[in-house]
């Protein structure tokens, strides 16, 4: 288990503010945040590259706050791989074992096994400058895993890769995680990547961890508007709670009223968050369990491959699949119904 208590660190003009975080042993934890949120600095503090100004870092019951990086048994992979350019792939993979002065035949055996596992044996005599991004990243991951670290820290490990290589490496990382009890902390700014990889997510903004939770909690119940914007909850409606009927909360958003579930009192000013993928588009009013059915018009249609994004007249944004859009024969200026369940609306006081 990794416990971070009141961690603070000043870095030039940037401040890491009072970070408190607990990550369970064997967990795949993703720190998700925009650029310059302090994600890499937090990871580097956990690795021991810097000493914090205040606070403590505990790894598996030991206070490692002032421990040197070489004594922490933490693997680290940077976004740009950090491969040693003067060593071959094999030299990079074997580096940690050579430092530990392991017998040569054992090193050879273990590095061979690692290269086989990652499918990079054919690259063993190549230098990093001759490798593709995916090959470099596999080498960097293999090198970090060679010492069987308790914790693997990944700093934007997939962001410089093309979509196909990225998907392959995501599978590879998941496999490595599932087959061992290693704790992985993965930093990214990519919400899709976070959704795919994480057991739990921590949202980091402006040097603070602003929310932690499961993927579902983070993406469906963001704590505030800033987080909602960042995690892609494009529909943020402003209103106030006007009524409570049969345990349901009615939110007046000006142009209409929407049904939601909330503990906030009548009269409270609120934000209502609705994810675009939770809105169902239909031409006729459907008999469904969705309590919210708003009549509107399509303002704009954008094709995003398998997904179609629709901007509606009532300022809502909805996603539908390409197939559904074709079946419904949706066109601009067409009258439609935007339906969503009460559970799809997340209410936060403002």
């Amino acid at each position: 288990m990794i416990t971070i208590k009141n961690l603070q660190r000043k870095w030039k003009e940037f401040n890491l503010k009072d970070i408190n975080l607990t990550i369970e042993k064997g967990e795949y934890f993703v720190i998700l945040g925009p650029t310059a949120a302090g994600k890499t600095l937090l990871l580097e503090l956990i690795a021991g590259f810097y000493i914090p100004d205040a606070g403590e870092i505990w790894i598996h019951g030991d206070n490692v706050t002032t421990m040197t990086p070489e004594d922490r048994e933490v693997g680290f992979v940077y976004q740009d791989y950090g491969l040693f350019p003067h060593f071959t792939v094999e030299g990079n993979i074997e580096y940690g074992l050579k430092i530990k002065k392991i017998p040569k035949d054992k090193i050879n055996k273990e590095s061979q096994a690692m290269m086989d596992l990652l499918g990079i044996t054919y690259l063993k005599d190549r230098y990093p400058t001759t490798l593709s991004g995916g090959e470099k990243q596999k080498t960097a991951i293999g090198r970090a895993l060679m010492l069987n670290p308790h914790i693997l820290l990944l700093d934007e490990p997939l962001s410089a890769l093309d979509a196909r290589t990225k998907a392959g490496l995501q599978d590879e990382l998941k496999k490595i995680h599932n087959e061992s009890d290693i704790t992985i902390i993965h930093v990214t700014h990519d919400q899709t990547e976070a959704m795919i990889m994480a057991d739990r997510i921590g949202i980091m903004m402006g040097g603070e961890i602003v929310q932690t939770g499961t993927t579902h909690e983070i993406f469906n119940t963001p704590k505030n508007r800033m987080i909602a914007d960042f995690v892609g909850t494009e529909n943020v409606l402003e209103g106030h709670i006007s009524k409570k009927i049969d345990g349901l909360t009615i939110v007046d958003i000006g142009s209409s009223e929407i049904f939601a579930i909330s503990d906030l009192e009548i009269g409270s000013k609120v934000h209502a968050f609705i994810r675009p993928e939770d809105i169902i588009i239909s031409k006729e009013l459907q008999e469904t369990s969705a309590r919210n059915n708003l009549e509107t018009k399509i303002k704009k249609i954008i094709h995003l491959g398998a997904i179609v994004r629709m901007e509606l007249d009532n300022e809502l944004v909805a996603f539908t699949t390409k197939q559904s859009a074709e079946e419904l024969e949706l066109n601009i200026d067409e009258h439609i119904y935007a339906s969503f369940k009460t559970t799809a609306v997340h209410i936060v006081g403002r």
Partner: protein, 298 residues
């Protein structure tokens, strides 16, 4: 057919028409035309090429002229090569420069690393102090060195007690060379260390390597081309040092001091062979060092 044959053709009155219809001549013309066309397109490159060429020509013509003038009197050059006084002076210069480069390496590399990696108060002051020898007149440096290294000087006195004398002695030459050449090593090595991504050091440490092992196995090898360059520059600057050496250690005579003596006492004819010998030996050492560096890279 080469150029002088064409000139012969012109001089012998053969027509330009015939020349223009000669196949090889046409080919040369075409190549020149293509190059001119490319250069015309890239006036920027042409300007830079021309200005650079002037500098190279300046060095080449100056030294080339010296070699050319001596080529008429090879026997004097051979005599100089056999003259033990000249050979000893050259040896003193080369060995003192090597010792000073070694000292600069031992103390300068750690300093260069600190300057490249750390920000601290008065860092720019330290960088300025290191670069002072580049700025001040060498004779001034010599006077300053004499002050501290003479028998009653702040450094000379304690060393004198253990039998190390600087004034008019080999250590004095080394001290003068070190003072004048250390900025070249420190500055070049610092820039070299700056090119090594500190994150490589972080990764190395996360793989169990101590700070020292990381420096030895990662940082130093990656910065070594610059450090090597710095050493060569430092050594070369040491060999060529004259004024500072002249003031602190006129004896034993190093090559530049001896050459100056020969020039003032006997003129150009006597000093030129020794100069050519010094330049030639240094050039050979330079070429060998550069070649070994390239070989290492390959």
């Amino acid at each position: 057919m080469v150029l002088h044959e064409y000139l012969k053709m012109v001089l012998s009155g053969k027509s330009l028409y015939r020349m223009a219809h000669n196949e090889r001549f046409g080919m040369y013309l075409k190549t020149i035309k293509n190059v001119m066309k490319k250069l015309k397109k890239d006036r920027f490159l042409l300007l830079f090429f021309f200005s650079g060429f002037l500098l190279v020509a300046f060095v080449f013509v100056t030294l080339g002229d010296m070699f050319y003038r001596q080529s008429g009197d090879i026997s004097a050059l051979i005599s100089a090569a056999k003259d033990s006084t000249i050979l000893t002076a050259i040896w003193i210069s080369i060995s003192a420069a090597s010792v000073s480069a070694l000292i600069a390496f031992i103390f300068g590399v750690p300093l260069a690393y600190i300057l490249a990696r750390k920000d601290f108060a008065f860092k720019s002051v330290i960088e300025g102090i290191i670069d002072i020898p580049i700025m001040i007149p060498h004779v001034v440096a010599g006077i300053a060195l004499y002050g501290v290294f003479m028998r009653s000087g702040i450094i000379g006195a304690p060393f004198g007690k253990i039998g190390v004398v600087f004034v008019d002695a080999f250590p004095g030459i080394v001290a003068a060379m070190l003072f004048m050449s250390l900025p070249y090593l420190v500055d070049t090595a610092r820039e070299g260390f700056k090119t090594v991504d500190p994150r490589l050091e972080n990764v190395s440490r996360s793989l169990g390597a101590s700070q020292w092992t990381t420096f030895r196995r990662i940082t130093f090898p990656l910065a070594s081309p610059s450090i090597f360059n710095g050493c060569i520059l430092c050594w070369a600057r040491g060999v060529s040092e004259f004024s500072a050496v002249l003031i602190i250690a006129y004896f034993p005579k190093s090559a530049p001091v001896l050459i100056y003596d020969l020039f003032t006492m006997y003129g150009l004819t006597s000093s030129r062979p020794a100069s050519i010998l010094l330049v030639s030996i240094c050039l050979v050492i330079f070429i060998i060092l550069r070649a070994s560096k390239h070989g290492e890279r390959r």
